[in-house]
C-alpha cells in the first residue's frame, strides 16, 4: 500500500448490527495489539478510538443499511477510504434484520414498540454493496477475526486477498471433523455454505446454519430437495435458507420458492377443508 512514510490508517465503522463483528475483531487478542503497533486505528468505537470523519486506508464496515441516515454516512466513509471492506453477514448480506425485507416491517414495528413513530427504519435492510462500491467482502456471523487480520495484512501489502468460498465441508474434512449430516442425520448447511469459519459448528457436533453465506456455485436447490426428501417440512426448509444470509442469492430465491410451496399447500388445504 502506498502510504508514503506515514503509518497506514484504519477505521472500523458500525451500521445496523449487534457489534459482534467488532467484538470478533477485538477478540483477536495479541495479533490485534501487533496490528495497533503497525497501523493507526483512528476509529473503532467498540475498542475506544472515535473519529468517524477520519480519512483512512482501510475502512472496515460492520452492519447493514437500515435507517434513513445510513446511506449518506456510508457515502462519506467511502469517499474517505482507500479500501472499503465489509465485515460480517449484516454488512455483506443485510444480516438477520434483512428478514424484514420479506415481510411487512411496519407491522412488526407497531407490534413491538409502544410509540413506533420514533423508529426510523427503511423498508429494507440492505448490504453495504447495494449502496457503495465495496472492495472486499468478508462474511460470517460474526466474521472471523483471523480472516479480518489476514485481509488486513494483504491490503497493507497492496493486494486484495483471495477469499476461499469453497464449501464448509472441505474445511470440516481438513480439520478431521466427522460429518454431522451423514453420521447423525443433522440438516447441515455446510455443503452449500462458504468456508471461512474454520468449520466451528460441525467441529462441535452441530449442523452449520449458513452464517458465512453461500459457497461459490452452491447447489442450494439440490440440498433443499434432499432435506425435504429426508423428512424436513417445506416451511422448515424455507427457514433454513431465509435466515442470517436470507437476503443473499441463491439462498433468497430458493428460500422464497420453498416458502411459496408452503403457502400453496396451505391454500389448497383451506380450499379443501
Amino acid at each position: 500500500m502506498t502510504t508514503g512514510t506515514r503509518r497506514p490508517r484504519i477505521a472500523v465503522h458500525k451500521f445496523s448490527s449487534c457489534d459482534g463483528c467488532q467484538l470478533a475483531f477485538l477478540n483477536l487478542g495479541e495479533p490485534l495489539l501487533a496490528l495497533a503497533e503497525a497501523v493507526d486505528i483512528l476509529h473503532f468505537a467498540e475498542a475506544g478510538p472515535v473519529d468517524e470523519e477520519a480519512e483512512v486506508d482501510i475502512a472496515f464496515v460492520e452492519g447493514s443499511v437500515a435507517t434513513s441516515q445510513d446511506a449518506a454516512r456510508l457515502h462519506g466513509i467511502r469517499q474517505r477510504s482507500r479500501y472499503l471492506v465489509t465485515i460480517g453477514a449484516c454488512a455483506t448480506a443485510g444480516g438477520i434484520q434483512a428478514l424484514r425485507n420479506l415481510h411487512d416491517a411496519d407491522e412488526w414495528v407497531s407490534g413491538v414498540y409502544a410509540q413506533p413513530e420514533h423508529i426510523d427504519l427503511l423498508a429494507d435492510s440492505t448490504p453495504i454493496a447495494e449502496s457503495v462500491k465495496v472492495d472486499l467482502e468478508l462474511w460470517g456471523c460474526p466474521v472471523s477475526g483471523e480472516q479480518v487480520l489476514g485481509a488486513t495484512k494483504s491490503l497493507l501489502a497492496g493486494h486484495l486477498p483471495r477469499v476461499d468460498h469453497s464449501a464448509v465441508c472441505m474445511e470440516c474434512k481438513r480439520q478431521q471433523a466427522v460429518c454431522v449430516m451423514v453420521a447423525k442425520g443433522q440438516p447441515c448447511m455446510g455443503p452449500v455454505t462458504s468456508t471461512g469459519c474454520g468449520a466451528i459448528c460441525p467441529r462441535w457436533q452441530r449442523d452449520c446454519y449458513a452464517c458465512y453465506g453461500p459457497a461459490v456455485q452452491a447447489n442450494v436447490s439440490a440440498l433443499a430437495s434432499h432435506l425435504a426428501d429426508t423428512g424436513m417440512p417445506a416451511d422448515e426448509v424455507a427457514r433454513r435458507l431465509l435466515f442470517i444470509n436470507g437476503h443473499a442469492e441463491p439462498f433468497q430465491s430458493e428460500g422464497l420458492d420453498w416458502q411459496a410451496r408452503v403457502i400453496t399447500r396451505q391454500g389448497r388445504e383451506e380450499e379443501q377443508g
Partner: protein
C-alpha cells in the same frame, strides 16, 4: 532432501513495459551457482513468486543460449502479476524452474514451420520465432500467423514488420475486428491455410492461444493432411506446484505442468474436442 517447491531468490536486472498491461522482466538468480546450473528449453516455464502473495507460472522468453539472465513477458491479469509489474531493477523475488516440456526445436529442424498464435498470449511464440531466426539455416520456410480479437490488441508491431523482411518468412496478421487503419486482414486465422505454401509431409505446426482457435487450426491442418504428431500445442491450465503433484492442471490423463505445456495434437486430440474437460 531439498523440497522442489522452495523458490530460490532472484533479482530483477531489467524491466520493460510492453503495453499498459504487459511488461517484461529480466531475472537472475542471486546465487551464481544456481544461475550457472540453470538450463532450459524453448517453451518451458518458471514459477515466479512474491512471498505472501503467491506464485504464477510464466513462460521463459529468452534464448536458451543466453546464460546470464532469464526473461519473462507477463500480462497483468491477477493480484500476483499486477504486483510483479510493480517490481523495479534490483528488487528480489522467488524463482523456481524450469518446468515442463517445451517446443520440439530439435525435432523441427529441417522442416517448414507454421506458427499460429491467437489472442494476447503470444509471448511463447514470439520467443520461438526469435529462436528460429537466430538459427535460420536449421529450419525451412517459416509462416507466422497471428490472430487478435481487435486490431488494438496487436503488440510488437515492429517485430512483425522486421520478421517479414527475412527471406523465406511469411507473416499473416488478422483481427476479428479491425479499425479503419488496420492494414492487414480481418477474420479467422484459418483463412490463410489454403494459400500458404508449406510441405505438409515435412512441416512442424506450433499453436499457441485460445483452445477454440486451436480446435479450428487443427481441423484445417488435418484437411491439409498434416500428421497429428507434427502439430504441437502449448496449453495453459491452473498450476500451483508445477511438478505434477497438486493435480490442478490435469487435462485428461496429462499433467500440463509436467507432461506439457507443449503437447502433440495426437496426445491431446481425445480431450480437446470437449469443453470443460
Amino acid at each position: 532432501m531439498t523440497s522442489p517447491l522452495v523458490p530460490h531468490e532472484a533479482e530483477v536486472v531489467g524491466r520493460r513495459d510492453e503495453t499498459p498491461d504487459m511488461f517484461s522482466l529480466q531475472l537472475r538468480f542471486t546465487d551464481p551457482e544456481v544461475q550457472a546450473a540453470y538450463r532450459f528449453t524453448m517453451g518451458q516455464f518458471n514459477m515466479l513468486c512474491l512471498p505472501g502473495m503467491g506464485e504464477v507460472p510464466i513462460s521463459i522468453v529468452s534464448d536458451p543460449d543466453e546464460r546470464a539472465m532469464i526473461d519473462h513477458t507477463i500480462r497483468k491479469v491477477g493480484s500476483v502479476t499486477r504486483n510483479l509489474g510493480r517490481l523495479e531493477v534490483g528488487d528480489r523475488l522467488g524463482l523456481r524452474g524450469p518446468y515442463g516440456r517445451g517446443w520440439p526445436t530439435e525435432e523441427a529442424e529441417g522442416t517448414d514451420l507454421v506458427i499460429v498464435t491467437g489472442g494476447l498470449g503470444c509471448a511463447p511464440s514470439v520467443s520461438l520465432i526469435e529462436y528460429v531466426l537466430h538459427r535460420r539455416g536449421r529450419y525451412g520456410r517459416m509462416h507466422i500467423i497471428q490472430g487478435v480479437k481487435h486490431s488494438n490488441d496487436l503488440i510488437w508491431r515492429d517485430r512483425y514488420a522486421a520478421w517479414r523482411r527475412h527471406p523465406d518468412v511469411e507473416v499473416y496478421l488478422t483481427a476479428d475486428t479491425g479499425d479503419t487503419f488496420w492494414p492487414w486482414h480481418t477474420g479467422p486465422v484459418t483463412q490463410f491455410f489454403e494459400r500458404i505454401d508449406f510441405d505438409s509431409a515435412r512441416c512442424s505446426v506450433f499453436i499457441c492461444g485460445p483452445e477454440g482457435m486451436m480446435r479450428a487450426v487443427i481441423k484445417a491442418m488435418r484437411e491439409r493432411e498434416v500428421p497429428e504428431e507434427r502439430i504441437w500445442l502449448s496449453m495453459e491450465r491452473n498450476m500451483h506446484c508445477a511438478i505434477g503433484s497438486c493435480g490442478r492442471c490435469q487435462l485428461g490423463p496429462k499433467f500440463v505442468c509436467r507432461d506439457g505445456p507443449v503437447f502433440t495434437c495426437r496426445e491431446l486430440a481425445p480431450y480437446l474436442s470437449h469443453r470443460g474437460v
